[in-house]
């Protein structure tokens, strides 16, 4: 730098130098897309895709760099995409029910079934509802879990945890945290009422609202995953409603008193799907990434990521016995049989539920 300035008298004037410096600064401030190498893969995903253990084998095998942007909440993903240029992103991971939101806006690339290892998926995950929108595949299920209950088994009666009535059980007054996601919470209430979540109508909402508000005396806090985990570990609460394996599994190896379950009345499944963006400039590489994620090794690593654990979509996932026990692998057949996906297809019901949830928080 010093030498450059010294040369200013002979050719590089101070003004030119400042101009070059400003230019270099401006280049370094350009959006990431302009500075990426041609073989970078930009993935907009949940935090469980950020583990080096998951990404490194793919990066080494393909000689590429995977740039991870993790987000929380479909609304956040939409706002990121609204501020991005076409081609900025290659891969998307989103709550499977929300795939339609992105597909309807023409953001997703139709996927060819023959290019993906679909044969290893757990059978319930292969149904058309989880895989196709109007007959076209835009996403593949890659991981799933449940909305149910997580708890400290030293503080509660485990038998109580298998019933949806625990939501209103006086024994646990002030001992409950609720995972802050409005529509599964209200779908669990629907299950307790004997209403199938997929059949919730506007007519059911007043009763659901009433039962949700009736839960409040038991509720000490409503929070995100870290918030409810913290409360459970600190002993501020004994139960996390609307949570399950994704809330406590990664803590269970060090805190064996924690556990999770789904209700006997019925379970509510969440499924995350992985997609390729229509405007991606690396579609083949993106499909390779999907295959890596769906491989037995990739599935095992994804299922036990540092951010949160949950069931792999593939029955061939590489997991050890302890990990399978924590994920209640042996009970999966029964869990899946009595569970339905947590989907919501009517935007009016969705909006009404968010309003009810805000009222619940405020009550």
């Amino acid at each position: 730098m010093k030498n450059l300035i010294k040369q200013s008298g002979s050719g590089l004037s101070r003004r030119k130098f400042l101009g070059y410096a400003a230019g270099i600064s401006a280049m370094s401030a350009l959006p990431a897309r302009y500075s990426h190498a041609a073989k970078d893969l930009n993935v907009l995903v949940w935090c469980d895709h950020a583990d080096e253990l998951l990404l490194k084998p793919f990066e080494e095998a393909h000689g590429v760099k995977v740039n991870v942007k993790s987000y929380e909440g479909t609304g956040t993903a939409l706002s990121i995409l609204e501020q991005s240029a076409p081609g900025d992103w290659d891969v998307l991971v989103v709550d499977a029910p929300d795939t339609r939101v992105f597909a309807d806006q023409g953001m997703l690339e139709p996927l060819d079934d023959s290019s993906l290892p679909l044969g290893d998926l757990f059978k319930p995950l292969t149904s058309a509802a989880f895989n196709y929108i109007d007959g076209v595949r835009y996403a593949v299920p890659e991981k799933f879990g449940y909305y149910g209950v997580a708890y400290n088994k030293e503080k509660v009666d485990e038998a109580d945890m298998r019933s949806a009535q625990v939501m209103w059980n006086d024994k646990y007054k002030g001992r409950v945290a609720v995972y802050d996601y409005y529509f599964p919470a209200m779908q669990l209430i629907a299950i307790s009422m004997g209403v199938a979540p997929e059949n919730i109508s506007m007519d059911d909402l007043p009763t659901i609202r009433e039962k949700l508000l009736a839960m409040k005396p038991n509720v000490k806090l409503v929070g995100d995953v870290v918030g409810v985990q913290n409360a459970l570990v600190n002993g501020d609460v004994d139960i996390v409603l609307n949570g399950a394996e994704f809330t406590v599994s990664n803590l269970m190896p060090s805190i064996p008193a924690l556990d999770w379950a789904i209700f006997d009345e019925g379970g509510l499944m969440w499924i995350q799907g992985i997609s390729v963006f229509k405007d991606s400039n690396n579609k083949d590489l993106a499909v390779d990434f999907l295959n890596h994620i769906l491989s037995p090794q990739g599935q095992g690593t994804l299922a036990t990521s540092e951010c949160y654990w949950a069931m792999p979509a593939s029955s061939q996932a590489v997991l050890n016995d302890d990990q399978r026990k924590i994920l209640r692998w042996d009970e999966q057949a029964a869990f899946m049989e009595r569970s339905v996906p947590s989907t919501i297809s009517d935007p009016d019901i969705d909006a009404a539920m968010l309003d009810i949830w805000t009222e619940f928080l405020q009550s």
Partner: protein, 290 residues
């Protein structure tokens, strides 16, 4: 004969001032006025199934001001912020006073470093640290139950009180700095003159020191109000979402429904509250005194 040279100098000074303020003006236009205008426009739009629809509808305003639990988020925010500001002033003023008048200059520097220590910790970390202190199995309950003062742990975490505690911890130190900076600017001769004229210590404080230190209190209080009313992290972590404040209501609309029009209405309302508070306190806001 008119002083032409002086006028030329003044004109040059004015031209320089005009030129020098251009970058700040452009910056403000691009990064404040522009986005604010966009936010105002978007507040009249609608979010329909994942898409923003450009309309000119007051429906979002009607919904926010016509729905009890949404409007309650505004009253909650104002209540929490006012209580925080008042408690912080009551704690900060004596601290700043002692620091300015009862501590030697050598120790003042050391204490000022301690005063800014809370600013060195990340906001999220600080909030979670408070949870460790006030939770059911936290330090306070551990000591109180250990000493036999209480039988059952006190419920401190995940309450409005916890949110205010987190705020007060931070803003007391901020206010201490602004009030201290003001107090040390008050000429000791004013207080001495009052004493010479027979004023008691209390009279000197209430008739000289306190009125002259109001700008420091006002600036600190205004900054406290502005930051606290827009804070999302503290009520989310320490309050446990047992009640909703406006920033949390905004986040619910943005992160869950991407409903930027409704979030814009809430943000504009929050800004209007701040403008009103500014109008009420502006005559005391003298930045050169802090």
């Amino acid at each position: 004969m008119p002083d032409i040279r002086g006028r030329n100098n003044n004109q040059k000074g004015l031209e320089f001032t005009r030129w020098a303020t251009q970058p700040a003006l452009i910056f403000t236009l691009i990064f404040f006025a522009g986005p604010l205008a966009v936010m105002v426009v978007v507040s009249f739009w609608q979010r329909v199934y994942g898409k923003l629809v450009a309309t000119w509808s007051g429906a979002n305003y009607s919904k926010f001001f016509g729905t009890d639990y949404l409007l309650e988020s505004l009253t909650n925010s104002i209540e929490v912020t006012l209580v925080t500001t008042i408690i912080s002033i009551l704690l900060a003023y004596p601290l700043a006073y002692i620091l300015a008048y009862r501590i030697s200059p050598k120790w003042q520097k050391v204490i000022l470093i301690f005063a800014v220590l809370p600013f060195w910790t990340a906001y999220v970390v600080r909030s979670y640290s408070w949870l460790l202190v006030i939770s059911e199995n936290g330090i306070i309950n551990y000591v109180l139950t250990g000493l036999g003062i209480i039988d059952q742990p006190l419920q401190m975490a995940y309450t409005r009180g916890a949110t205010i505690l987190g705020f007060v911890h931070f803003f007391t130190m901020l206010l201490t700095l602004t009030i201290y900076a003001n107090l040390v600017q008050i000429k000791p001769s004013y207080q001495k003159a009052a004493e010479d004229l027979g004023a008691s210590k209390l009279q000197v404080f209430f008739r000289i020191t306190l009125p002259l230190s109001i700008p420091g209190v006002a600036v600190g209080a205004f900054i406290t109000f502005v930051i606290a009313i827009g804070d999302y992290i503290t009520p989310q972590i320490l309050g446990g979402s047992t009640e909703v404040l406006v920033p949390q209501a905004i986040m619910l609309q943005v992160s869950r429904a991407a409903n930027f029009p409704m979030a814009s209405v809430m943000s504009i309302t929050l800004m209007l509250v701040i403008v009103i508070v500014y109008a009420m306190t502006s005559k005391h806001l003298k930045m050169d005194r802090v």
